[in-house]
Amino acid sequence: MDDYELDDDDLIQKISEKDLTAFQKLVEHQKAFVYNTCYNLIGNHQQAEETAQDVFLQVYKSASAFRHQSKVSTWLYSIAVNRSLNVIRRNRRSRWIKSLSTLEKEETGGEEPDTLLERKEMKSLLKSIVDSLPEKQRVAFILNKYENLSASTIAEILGISTNAVEVRIHRAKTNLQKRLTSLLKNNPEEL
């Protein structure tokens, strides 16, 4: 095993030569963020896991085609987003139902039961509203808000201009606000 740490670019170079050790190292470094990106977009753990594996499979097969003109993480994001969108489009089930069915149980952490219930309800409400956004706005919003990526990085991932990304994020927030207003207006007991 090498004593020095290889950066992601070096790992990709070795993977293009079908070095499985380097590939395993890359997977260990990046699997969490690829998996989370897929999960945030798809909303299902099983499918997110399969999609994340497909992302790395594609990386393994096409490592020699990587031009090193962008960061490896940007390239991984790009593949993860495209793959996830393919899965979403194939799925025919309602995103609303999926988002509610994939809620994870949270640890109580000593909070008051009422507070915890309200937090869980608010979190599930937000997730379901985000999941109901139009696809382009949803992707831009998730990458910006969930993954904390800048508009320029998102632009590079999606292959569009930074301005277009900012417009999509702004529209996503406007739509979220409209849906929140409508929801809270129809259910005043939420207040």
């Binding site: 395993q24 994340a52 207006k185």
Partner: protein, 159 residues
């Protein structure tokens, strides 16, 4: 829900992101100081909104790497076999395929050429009686027989 509460609801995201218009700031703060329901709404919405970006990142299960490795090995095996088969077929069938294409081209070209000749003949048959090999074969008394026997008077050209 009164108008002040509606203001809070209508600007919820801007409030938690601190991007609401300055003109509304005093109105919002004054109302939040007096309305416990709106205070609670803003508080829990803020927590939920913040959690979107700070939620703990999940890690895939332990089986992730072994399954991925199996997928890589599976993807490589059929590809080698498939490639060999395609290459073999290509090498052996290419000359035969070229020859067959040429023969088919000649055949269809011939058929097309014959078809046009038949169409011409058919057209002529619409306007005349059935075509006979020999002009003497026309049935006696038929129009064709009359026309064949009729002598067209020749007019002498005037100088």
């Amino acid at each position: 829900m009164n108008q002040d509460c509606q203001n809070i609801v209508n600007n919820l995201i801007d409030i938690v992101e601190n991007s609401h218009p300055e003109s509304l700031e005093k109105v919002i703060l004054d109302h939040l100081a007096l309305c416990p329901r709106c205070q609670r709404l803003v508080k829990y919405f803020s927590l939920g909104w913040e959690e979107l970006s700070t939620a703990e990142k999940l890690s895939p299960p332990e089986r992730f790497w072994p399954e991925l490795l199996a997928k890589i090995q599976d993807s490589e095996k059929p590809q080698l076999l498939r490639e060999k088969i395609i290459l073999g077929l290509r090498n052996s069938l290419r000359p035969a395929a070229v020859s067959l294409t040429l023969l088919l081209g000649v055949f269809f070209g011939y058929q097309l050429g014959n078809r046009q000749h038949m169409d011409t003949i058919h057209t002529e048959m619409v306007y005349v009686e059935p075509y006979f090999q020999d002009f003497q074969d026309f049935p006696e008394g038929s129009v064709s027989d009359f026309l064949m026997k009729y002598e067209i008077p020749i007019q002498e050209e005037k100088p």
